[in-house]
């Protein structure tokens, strides 16, 4: 089979550097911890650079799928290794690169079972990258499962707070999701009559009857939606966040939940646009319940990570609401929110992880006065909280604003509810900040060190990404629009 590359295979090289990192780590002896960390940092840095390069090299005037790599893998079944990047995928690739790199740097102080940890992280992330770039249904499903499986080990081995329970719950939930996704994919492939898993080929309008679309879409929506934390299938996510070690929480909340939403978009909405329109109202309803519900539950949590977990539920609800509007703005806002929320939670978990490592507690009742002992660390936490509230000129504000505007247009009542949830979200984020960072400094934390420059690097990267995209949201929105405008105008 000839492989005709018109250009350097950037997308495959991202995957390749993940796999290479994994293999190299496997061959390094267990006790050379520094070498393992450096290899991880370099390989993840390469993925970040490549994805950032792709993000800026993408030709926005031309649009569509670019950097395409296609290779027939099992022709008899119509399976091909088919990668491509468009305006929806590139922000996600960039997000994964950022979160991966900063996550690896955040775990620089890890001392137990370093080798296995980083190997598993690499496996996980290669699944995530694959999912975001693949255009073949078969591979999408494979990557989807590849990214789920290491989570169990990562949480069960390196976690804390009821880790076995959380790991089991998470795995069961996610496998239930993929058990819904697989039949839907097979159903679609069989019903299309094209005998191919090629997403682009299946996307032609008229391939599926309205009934088939409605049936497949609801399966895909729930299946992928579980991973996106759609209410009422969200309870795995706070528990999982709490139990997971810092970097895993970052990748989990920052990227894995996006896989769910991205799956709904890439598979569900792309293949079943009519099913999407049919079920949009249900999606909006669940999303709004998630938004309001998440903040209220978060309000009465005392564990820092639970608080963030529930804020994720609420923020992912905003993504869902954006997707449910069936408008260009809604899609823009949803994808932007995925990006912004990913970076934000990564920052959140990164700073909470630092605080937890030092103080050995996550309970906001026990913490307090950290702004005095570690001003920089709590500064990062405050920035993350402010991003969560939706303060302007920080990335998520624009995403939320776009979603609110479009939802206000399509579903006025839901739009109003979502906007009102802003007040409660401010209340609960500020409550956290007040209890942890403010107040008189406590005796037992007085000796703790602040974030050193070296350890601060990942957080600095995240903060600067938040601020840059907050000040220049157009960079991101222009990118997403290259995909969303043609898609919406191509709808029947």
């Amino acid at each position: 089979m000839p492989i005709a590359y018109a250009h350097f295979p950037y997308l495959s090289s991202i995957l390749f550097s993940c796999v290479a990192g994994l293999l190299i780590i496997l061959f390094i002896p267990e006790d050379k911890k520094d070498a393992i960390k450096w290899v991880s940092a370099v390989c993840s840095g390469v993925t970040l650079l490549l994805s950032a390069y792709l993000f800026f090299a993408y030709d926005k005037t031309q649009g569509g799928l670019q950097f395409v790599e296609k290779y027939q893998w099992v022709p008899s079944l119509g399976i091909s290794y088919y990668n491509g990047a468009d305006g929806f995928g590139l922000p996600m690739l960039l997000l994964t690169g950022i979160v991966f790199f900063t996550g690896v740097l955040t775990m620089w102080e890890l001392e137990t079972r370093v080798k296995e940890f980083f190997a598993l992280i690499f496996l996980l992330v290669s699944g995530v990258f694959g999912m975001f770039m693949s255009m073949d249904l078969f591979f999408i499903f494979i990557w989807f499962d590849v990214s789920l499986f290491p989570m169990y080990l990562l949480i069960a081995v390196w976690g804390s707070t009821r880790k076995e329970y959380a790991a089991m719950k998470l795995t069961l939930y996610l496998l239930a999701g993929s058990a819904l996704v697989l039949p839907a994919i097979i159903y679609l492939v069989v019903k299309s009559g094209f005998h191919t898993f090629d997403l682009v080929a299946l996307m032609h309008p008229g391939t599926f009857t309205p009934f088939q679309q409605k049936f497949a879409f609801i399966l895909l929506y729930i299946g992928f939606g579980i991973l996106a934390g759609v209410w009422p299938f969200h309870t795995w996510s706070p528990t999982g966040h709490v139990a997971a070690p810092t970097a895993v929480s970052m990748i989990h909340a920052g990227v894995l939940m996006k896989i769910g939403a991205f799956g709904v978009l890439r598979v569900g909405i792309f293949l079943c646009p009519e099913g999407w329109q049919y079920w949009a109202h249900l999606m909006a309803l669940l999303a709004v319940i998630g938004i309001v519900y998440g903040v209220f539950v978060g309000l009465s949590q005392t564990d820092l990570k639970f608080v963030i977990g529930y804020s994720s539920v609420s923020h992912m609800g905003i993504v869902g609401l954006g997707l449910a509007t069936v408008t260009v703005e809604g899609l823009n806002g949803a994808v932007f929110q995925m990006f912004a929320h990913g970076v934000m939670t990564a920052l959140f978990f990164s700073s909470v992880g630092y605080i937890y490592d030092r103080t050995h507690t996550k309970s906001i009742v026990e913490l307090g006065g950290l702004s005095r002992t570690m001003p920089v660390a709590s500064g990062y936490l405050i920035v993350a909280a402010l991003t969560g509230i939706g303060v302007p000129c920080l990335a998520s504000f624009w995403a939320e604003l776009t979603v609110f505007i479009s939802s206000f247009k399509v579903y006025p009542l839901y739009g109003i509810l979502a906007v009102c949830a802003l007040v409660v979200s401010a209340l609960f984020m500020l409550r956290v900040v007040q209890r942890t960072c403010y107040g008189p400094p406590k005796e037992r934390f007085a000796h703790l060190e602040d974030v050193s420059f070296k350890l601060g690097i990942p957080r600095m990267i995240l903060v600067s990404v938040i601020v840059i995209f907050g000040l220049f949201p157009d960079v991101m929105l222009n990118m997403i629009q290259t995909a969303s405008i043609p898609f919406i105008s191509g709808l029947p």
């Binding site: 309000l299 009465s300 403010y438 008189p440």
Partner: protein, 635 residues
């Protein structure tokens, strides 16, 4: 209204004016946190450039008749376009000047006030952040942009109120301020969305043009105007969201002077003035605004009558003066409201800065304490404070007199005499609480004179040693001079402001001389009553309100508004909805999931029990099955 073409020079100038403080903020936060002098220098340098820019602009456009607008694109997403740009018209130029002047003076003053504080650099960083947000807010050409900076000033207010975060009350007050203004902002945002849906645009000029009535129905205009007014209520601390402002006094005093009296809280009134033509389309909305302004004015005046905390008195007075401005605007007096905003910014900042000197010197907020410790011996701040208090009470010839008198004239022009009566009652109350404070400090009763002398001698001695005093003194003098002079610029300002709004009818013609006398004599009456109760030698220093316990506790407890909110928050939000949701999460959702899992495990156990010690039965079954299969296949 058409826009006049603008030169690149103006664009550059405005951009520099707006953005420079932000640059200072970033630099301080990232690089110069350790170096306090450099941080302060950066911040003050940035704000003085802004001041120069503002003065340049207002001088360049002093004869402005049409608005100058410049718009670029910040964000485009489908049909949503968020422009970035600026709108120069008399209102924004005036506000810009007020903001930059007061920012500049307060930052100079803070050099002395904040000296030696651990968070000195952080303080200046936040001040720069605020300056950037506030300047950009005044210049905004579209409501989107205005909303963005509206939120940002809220943020800097939060950060600055909670500046001394180690005090629980300070961080609590910051949180309260943020959440309460957020409540108003949500209404504001909904109003914006409503307008956007119907008008397709949030350009301020478009919104103010008469064509709005053609596109939107009157009911819709009223609704959206009221929602937008919700934002004003939150930001300007009007009824029913007024309780955050007195708590906000937990912040450093210069912050109170800048944010919570002169500029940020006035942003609400500024927004009202900005959209004045839009609001004018709906008589209902205007009446509601008038009522809200009146209620807040009266409520907060009564609260100020019993407070012992010097800063809280001025905070209540800020609410009540903002109420006056809103009353004036809602009564149709555009110039009256904006003029009062201008004069108020001057004298209220002055009042706070003077109080700051006392607080700095005696380290107490209690007015009786300050009086006892010899507050009257600090000559400069005392004189300035008396001037400002006179302006506040509307005594001629200070600036407050002119602006308040204009508002009264507007109110007199309304059909219903209730508003005028309320306004006049407010004049009396204002004079009462302002001079109550002054008399308590100047004529302390509870100590003998020798101790005071001694005290003052000590403090006088300290005063000479205090090398920061000059930095704190000359902003006071400048502001006092402004307070004295500004009133006489009324005609000029009127001409400047109404150049823009030639179309809007000014009802100022109604005013008659009797009103002038009534209002001044009421103010004097207030003064006299205070003198009888607090000033004269035999006065018991107990106000007539304080003699009625029920009324006193009512006023002290802020009409129980705060308690009601607290209870509401506790009962409905925390114990109600939040608790129910958490329980639902734990019991219903998790419970059912766990039950399903447990059920699976249990049924597995049960089925596995069937297998126990059954080898032979299984064997038998196998044989039988094979037998029947054989039968089936062979026959």
């Amino acid at each position: 209204m058409t826009s006049t073409p603008i030169s690149n020079w103006t664009v550059l100038m405005t951009a520099v004016t707006a953005v420079l403080p932000f640059v200072a903020f970033l630099l301080i936060m990232v690089f110069t946190r350790k170096n306090e002098r450099l941080s302060a220098g950066l911040s003050i340098g940035a704000v003085s450039v802004s001041l120069a820019g503002a003065l340049f602009l207002i001088i360049q456009y002093r004869h402005l008749t049409t608005s100058v607008q410049y718009a670029g694109k910040w964000l485009v997403s489908g049909f949503i376009t968020i422009p970035v740009g600026f709108l120069l018209d008399p209102l924004s130029l005036l506000m810009l000047t007020i903001v930059t002047v007061i920012c500049f003076l307060v930052q100079i003053y803070s050099l002395g006030y904040m000296a030696g504080d651990r968070g000195f650099s952080r303080y200046y960083a936040f001040m720069s952040l605020f300056a950037w947000a506030m300047i950009s807010l005044t210049l905004s050409a579209s409501l989107f942009q205005l909303y963005v900076f509206w939120e940002l000033v809220g943020l800097s207010s939060y950060l600055l109120i909670g500046f001394w975060y180690e005090k629980f009350s300070a961080s609590e007050a910051g949180k309260k301020a943020f959440v309460m203004t957020r409540l108003g902002d949500v209404a504001f945002m909904l109003g914006l969305l409503l307008v956007l849906m119907n008008l397709g645009n949030l350009d301020i000029l478009k919104l103010n043009s008469p064509m709005v009535t053609a596109v939107m129905s009157p009911g819709l205009i009223t609704l959206s105007a009221l929602l937008i007014f919700g934002g004003v209520v939150g930001k300007s601390a009007q009824f029913p969201l007024l309780t955050w402002l007195p708590d906000a006094m937990e912040g450093p005093t210069p912050v109170s002077a800048l944010l919570h009296s002169a500029t940020m809280v006035a942003a609400g009134v500024f927004l009202f003035a900005r959209l004045f033509p839009f609001f004018s389309h709906s008589a209902t909305a205007m009446t509601v605004c008038l009522a809200v302004g009146t209620i807040s004015m009266l409520l907060s005046s009564t609260m100020a009558m019993v407070s012992r905390d010097i800063k809280q008195v001025w905070a209540y007075s800020t609410i009540s003066q903002l109420g006056y401005m809103i009353m004036g605007l809602a009564a149709g007096g555009y110039v009256a409201g904006v003029f009062h905003l201008t004069t108020h910014a001057g004298f209220k900042a002055l009042l706070f800065l003077c109080s700051g000197v006392f607080i700095h010197q005696y380290e107490t907020n209690d007015m009786f304490d300050i009086g006892r410790k010899g507050g009257r011996h600090l000559k400069t701040p005392m004189i300035c404070m008396v001037i400002a208090a006179a302006a506040l009470s509307g005594l001629p010839p200070f600036s407050g007199f002119f602006s308040k008198e204009m508002i009264m004239a507007q109110l007199a022009g309304l059909g219903n005499p209730i508003w005028l009566t309320a306004g006049l009652a407010g004049v009396f109350l204002t004079a009462y609480y302002a001079f109550r404070l002054i008399f308590i400090i100047v004529f302390p009763k509870e100590i003998n004179d020798e101790a005071a002398q001694e005290n003052s001698a000590v403090h006088g001695h300290e005063e000479t040693e205090h090398h920061h005093d000059r930095e704190m003194a000359w902003p006071l003098v400048i502001l006092a001079a402004i307070t004295v002079v500004l009133g006489f610029g009324k005609k000029m300002l009127q001409g400047f402001l109404s150049g823009r709004l030639a179309g809007v009818e000014e009802m100022a013609g109604h005013h008659s001389d009797w009103l002038l006398y009534v209002s001044v004599s009421l103010a004097v009456l207030g003064l006299v009553v205070t003198w009888m109760e607090f000033g004269r030698r035999k006065a018991g220093q107990i106000g007539f309100v304080e003699r009625i316990p029920a009324l006193k506790s009512l006023f002290l407890e802020r009409w129980y508004i705060d308690r009601m909110y607290r209870r509401l928050l506790d009962v409905v939000i925390y114990r109600g909805v939040s608790n129910i949701c958490t329980q639902n999460d734990n019991r219903v959702i998790d419970g059912s999931i766990d039950a399903v899992c447990d059920g699976t495990v249990k049924s597995g156990r049960m089925i596995s029990d069937l297998h126990l010690s059954m080898i032979q039965y299984k064997l038998l079954v196998m044989f039988v099955a094979v037998f029947f299969l054989a039968l089936y296949f062979f026959f």
